[in-house]
Structure formats: structure tokens, C-alpha cells
Amino acid sequence: MTEESPNQAIPINASQPIGEVLVYIEQCLGELQPVGLELLGAGRQLADKLERPLSAIVLGYNLGDIPKTIIAQGADKVYVADHPDLEQYRTLPYRRVICNWLEQMEVEPHTMLLGSTTTGRDLAPRIAAHFTTGLTADTTELDIGPYEHKGGSDPSKIGLYANCLYAIRPSFGESLKARILGPWKNPQMATTRPGVMIPLKLDWERHGEIIPIPVNLLQEDYRLVVEETFREVNKGVNLTQADVIVSGGYGLGGPDGFELLNQLAACFDNAAVGASRKVVDCGWVPYVHQVGQTGKTVRPKVYIACGISGAIQHRVGMQNSDLIIAINKDPDAPIFKFAHHGIVGDLYQVIPEMIRQLKKNSNTSSTKEVSSIV
């Protein structure tokens, strides 16, 4: 007979059934959004640790091959709501279908993940509040592990818990990393930043189950109508492969400023031109160049921010660059809070000088025509 060691405590939740890991898959007009596929990669690891299936939920209209693709990307099961009224994302109908489905599941999912996109951050808090369960925003790492809750004002929560979702996110202006847990109620929910998790390889040999789910909407779910959606697709410019990104903001003063950035980019071997959302919204450059929360997440060796103030939504898309050089005429610009090197000055004086010194540096002056990068 083996004796139980006194400090080998049995987790409080040891006898409870563990649900699956559920990933919300975002699609827009029939096109899968990359963040959903990234979440399948992250979710696969969590599901394997829990030894539970990885399931996905996708809503839309005329979804075609999308469910099959989701299986090829790692899901064991796909819940599909295909209905004309779900063609465009709207908070109320989407939350109705998802909450109804979760409510009738025998064991609620252990974990539910959504992307920290404008859709995920709109939808996730509604679902979490509906089930009064915990939700961690904007995570950058996820894991499963034990947790011992020792104190706090609520004695009913004290004890050892197995298989908790570790939702890890930056906090306090990215200076801290916080591990947030909520093992007391399932699903344990998190939204995850796009561009952080790694998708699995597409594998058409993978088997999975496609499960249609009911769509029962109420009158009150139609309180909002979408008049029009304007969406440019993020394709073409290879921001994520470049060693150097030269990025321009509103401080350029006008679209012509990008001419100067092209010249600077052309000084490097493998460079691309990025932009802030503000200049994209102004129509100075197309969306493919946009870096940030609603654009691309990039991690180049060098990021040169020219006339960009450094708003949080820009920062999350580029802060993991190896070297950040910021050029801004305002010494108090927020970008100087997280850049590695800050040059205070007028970019129209600083950049030409940078171009001159970079060219001087190259021994052989290249005579090849440089095609415009923008």
C-alpha cells in the first residue's frame, strides 16, 4: 500500500470532467482571418496537454470549404453556423448563436480563445459576461498548469487547482507580464493578439468532424444593421519578411513624404515601407503598409519610425522589433518611451542625412535603378 504524502494534495477540481478547447474562427466574406489559424496552433497545444479535443466554431454564410480548411489547420471538430443572417459579423446574432450552442453542451468547454481583433474584442466580453466567467484580454502566451490559491478575501476559492489556463499578457504599458487565472469557472476565456501564435501546417490528411449548429435568432438580435463594410486585404507588401522596416506617420505631412522613405528603404538590402493607420486613413498609402493592432504585426531587425507618435495601437504591432529607431520632432512623443534610439528633429533634415551616411558607407555605389517600394 502506498502512503499518500501529506503535501501531495489532491486538486479540488480533480474529479470534475474537463471540457474541450474551443477556438473562435474569424472569417470575413468567406475569407479566413489569420488570427483564427494562429489560435488553432496555440489551442492544439493546450488541448494536447489537457488530452481533450480541439474544437472550432465558425459563423457566416455560404462558408463552402472553410470548415474543411479549419480541420486541415488542426481542429478535431468544427461547429458550423451557416445562415444568411450571419453573413456579416454583428454582435447580437453572433453572441446568440454561440451562447445557445455552449449552453446545450453537456460539458462546457474548458477554454475558449478568440483573437484580439476588433471582432474578438467586441464579442468575447459579451460571451464572458453572459456566462459570468473570466476573460483575459490581449494575451501573448497561453499555457496549462496547476495553481494553488492561498489566500484572498474569499475562503471558498482557497485550494489547489489542476489544469488551469494560464493567460499571460503584458500590462502597465508593457513593462510587466501578468499571468492571469480563473480556474473557478469554465470556459476560461482569453483573447490573443494577432501575429503572436504560430499556425500549424495545413494538412489535408487530418480527420475531423463537421457539426452544423442551430441558428435561432430573436427579433431583438436585429437591432443593428450593417450598412456597408470597407475592407482592404492585407496582401502584397512583404512587411513580415523584411529585415528593415522604414515606417512613416502623419509627421510626413503628406503623401509625397513616402518618396523620401522609399529612398531610405532603398539604402538597405531587404527593406519594406510601413505606415501608421492615420496615414492609411488619409489615403497617403494603401492598407498593405499598415503596422499595428488593425494592421500587421512585424518583428524586423530594424524598425525606423519616422513622424509616428507611438500610439498604443501602433506599438503593439512593432514593439518586438530588435532595434527601434524613432525620428520625431517632439521630444515628449510617446514613441520615445519604447524606442531604443530616439532622434529629436525634423525628419526632412534627419532622413536625408541618414540616406547620405548609409550611402557613404557602401563602398561601391550601386548604379542599378531602384524601383519604388510603395
Binding site: T91, T118, R121, D122, P125, R126, A129, H130, G134, L135, T136, A137, D138, Y147, H149, Y166, S171, F172, G173, E174, S175, L176, K177, A178, G182, E220, L224, V225, V226, E227, E228, T229, F230, R231, E232, N234, V244, C267, F268, R277, Y287, Q290, T294, V302, I312, L323, A326, F338, H341, G342, I343, V344, G345, V350, E353, R356, L358, S362, N363, S366
Partner: protein, 277 residues
């Protein structure tokens, strides 16, 4: 007639992380020593609420939750033209996560009664979650428009433009609705002369102040303390790691001619390695 009568704007006081005061060396904030300010994202929400009042009519109520000093931001809202302020202040709210916060605030909103529009900022600078708005909307069963960057009211409906990946979306919703205002919306205008004068008077006259700014507790709004604070929070911060410091790491190059500034950059970074040879 737009039919708008009541507008509520939710605002929060946050530590001022732009100033070094109250910043611990490890990057955490000493809330007692830190300077306080109106959450910068809420300035857009306040502007949106005041814009509705000016353009379509109605009364603006600023609502906040926090310790007693948060009265300062309600006064600030009045200076800008808000009509009254409510502060939910209660020790039992300490350590509330977003779900518990949304629960408490939705109780306040029910207590305030009828409203047409409920504005919040996009997120706070000390929490950065953007969750509380939609969680309140769920509790109150409201239609919502998040990431709103512009709007108008036509025939009693809200026509709004919201930010999405790669562009934007135009939506129309029935009222009442919750709107989280993006920082792409108009910045807060100057204080109004009337508002500033009134705030001055309120600072001098406690009795008058109590007519404009009401401090309320969980009991006043009939909220269950079990669903607030640490008890009502399904999540806890189990552990934090320091990953860097706020400010201080950026090497600044300034006050010299451009050629010297760039030479400094060339000397102390590796960017030359990526230049064409």
C-alpha cells in the same frame, strides 16, 4: 426633435504614467504616490457625449467608479459641460476584475434610470482590456457599437462608423445603445466658461457640490457585494514578471546638427550591417 434626453458617459481616473511620480523602479505603479488623471481614452467618450448634447440635446451624466479622489474627474467633466456626476465608491469594490466592475457599473446605470446613449472610452491605460463596455452592454442587454470613430443621430437611430481591420464599417442601431469611442474620434474640446465657473463654485460650496456630484455606494444601487470586488471576480493576477521599464531605456539624440545625430546612430547601432554594400 431627436428625442434624446439622457446621455451617460463612463469615465475612470487612472495613474498618470506619463509622469515619473509614483512609478516604482520595477515598473509597477504606486497608486498612492502616483499623480492622477482622467483616463486619456475617456476624453474621446466625454467629447462624444457632449457633442450629442450640443447637437441633439439631452443631459450628460458622467459616471465613475473608484476611490473618493475620483471626484476630481467628475468635476473635470462638469468643466467641459457635463450636467452632473456620480461616483460609485465602496471599499468592497477593491480588486474587481472587468466582470465585477461591469456588474457594479450596470447596477449604477439601472439606478440612474432611463438613458438613450451610453458612452465609454475604448479602454483604460491601467487595464488595457477594452472589456468593461461590452460586458455592461451584455448585462443590460443593449445593442453596442465598439471602436466608434464617428456618428450621427437620424430618426432616433444611431448611424455610426466603426474601425475594423483594413478599413471601417458603417452601422445603424436602435437606441438605447452602448458606444465605445475610439481615440480616432475628435479630441476633447476646451472647458466651457460656464462649466469652469460652475466647477469653481462647487469647489467653494460643499452643499452645492453635493447637488451636482453624488457619491453612492453598493447599497444605494442595490448591488450584491458578493458579485463585486475580489469575491465577484472570476480572474486573479497570479503572478507578474518584469519585462522592462517604462521609459528610461531610450537613448536620446538631440540638440545637435543632423549629421552628428546620424553619426551617433551609425556608431551605436548595427544598422549599417543591413545597408547595401
Amino acid at each position: 426633435m431627436s428625442g434624446i434626453t439622457d446621455i451617460i458617459v463612463l469615465i475612470k481616473q487612472v495613474p498618470d504614467t506619463t509622469s515619473k511620480a509614483g512609478l516604482n523602479p520595477d515598473g509597477t505603479i504606486d497608486r498612492a504616490r502616483a499623480k492622477r488623471m482622467l483616463n486619456p481614452f475617456d476624453r474621446y467618450a466625454l467629447q462624444a457625449a457632449l457633442h450629442v448634447k450640443k447637437t441633439y440635446g439631452g443631459k450628460v451624466t458622467a459616471l465613475s467608479m473608484g476611490p473618493p479622489p475620483a471626484v476630481e474627474i467628475l468635476l473635470e467633466a462638469i468643466e467641459h459641460g457635463a450636467d452632473q456626476g456620480y461616483l460609485l465608491s465602496d471599499r468592497r469594490l477593491a480588486a474587481s476584475d472587468t466582470l465585477a466592475t461591469a456588474y457594479a457599473l450596470h447596477k449604477c446605470i439601472l439606478y440612474l434610470g432611463k438613458f438613450d446613449l451610453l458612452f465609454t472610452g475604448l479602454q483604460t491605460t491601467d487595464g488595457d482590456t477594452a472589456q468593461v463596455g461590452p460586458q455592461i452592454a451584455e448585462r443590460l442587454d443593449l445593442s453596442q457599437v465598439t471602436y466608434c470613430e464617428g456618428f450621427s443621430i437620424q430618426n432616433g437611430k444611431l448611424h455610426a462608423r466603426r474601425i475594423i481591420e483594413g478599413g471601417h464599417q458603417d452601422v445603424i442601431t436602435e437606441l438605447p445603445a452602448l458606444v465605445t469611442v475610439a481615440n480616432a474620434y475628435h479630441t476633447l474640446e476646451y472647458k466651457t466658461i460656464r462649466g469652469a465657473r460652475l466647477a469653481q463654485e462647487l469647489l467653494r460650496d460643499e452643499a452645492l457640490k453635493n447637488q451636482y456630484i453624488h457619491t453612492i455606494t453598493l447599497d444605494d444601487v442595490n448591488a450584491d457585494p458578493e458579485l463585486c470586488g475580489l469575491k465577484g471576480s472570476p480572474t486573479i493576477v497570479a503572478h507578474t514578471d518584469k519585462v522592462g521599464q517604462i521609459g528610461g531605456q531610450c537613448t536620446m539624440h538631440q540638440g545637435k546638427s543632423a549629421d552628428i545625430l546620424i553619426k551617433e546612430i551609425m556608431d551605436c547601432t548595427n544598422i549599417k550591417e543591413f545597408a547595401k554594400q
